[in-house]
Symmetry: C2
Subunit: 126 residues, 2 copies
DNA sequence: CTTATTGCAAACCTTTTGCAACCTC
DNA sequence: GAGGTTGCAAAAGGTTTGCAATAAG
């Protein structure tokens, strides 16, 4: 645990709107001016590998990093600015949002993505 | 409608596993050797803008292009090789896959992403 | 002294862009 | 020829990597 890692973890923690690596870098520099973007990326990747942080890809632009791994939730992404917020699964299998969660968004589509390893990749590496 | 555009559309059509721009380029070159990657990207973007093709981002690696815009469906992505296949919403709001759709995948997680414009962006540009 | 981590710069991959040559009408 | 389309090469993000210098145990 180095000052750099502590700062990155602190910056991320308690964020409601999820930050990009660059935003994390900017905020980290306010507390530790010499921290480099490479270190921010390295640390974010370690946090993701450790399961402490979730990577959220917006489809356009940089990935966002979500510190909320405790509560199961989903995301709403702005197709214009790329902002990402948490939403909580509601009725109808979580495909409906209540007004509070919609947070002023005009929802245009819902994508469900199942992730896992295909048979070929499982066979290859166990 | 140019030969290049026809070839890109043909290559994409009827694909069950969704192709990346590079794969589309490779296959297009088999029919039209001089076609450039830039033209493939331009054409894919036009098809997406026209609503003829869906962009699917895998979270890692290049985007995939899905020619099936008629039937509402979702996707299963291999976290190792990035392959994308279609799946059809089943029971429980589409969050459960039947065996045929699982296609040998070992499903590790399900992400739901709502997309739309946030209030701020809507206010800005109407 | 050994090992891990940092910062920098360069590389990387994917996608977009500028522009001159080229069709098509 | 006027306009849109192509191919090339260069640029533009976003992210990773090689490596020497540094900090930590």
């Amino acid at each position: 645990v180095t000052p750099q890692r502590r700062v990155v973890a602190e910056v991320l923690d308690g964020e409601h709107v999820h930050l990009s690596a660059e935003s994390v870098h900017l905020r980290s520099q306010q507390r530790l001016p010499e921290i480099s973007l490479a270190t921010v990326y390295n640390t974010l990747n370690e946090l993701v590998a450790m399961g402490e942080v979730l990577e959220v890809s917006t489809g356009t632009g940089p990935k966002r990093y979500d510190p909320n791994v405790r509560e199961h939730h989903h995301h709403i992404v702005c197709t214009t600015c790329g902002d990402v917020r948490d939403v909580h699964p509601g009725g109808a299998g979580g495909l409906q949002l209540d007004d509070a969660d919609r947070a002023g968004f005009d929802v245009e589509r819902v994508d469900i993505v199942f992730r896992g390893r295909c048979g070929t990749c499982r066979a290859r590496t166990g």
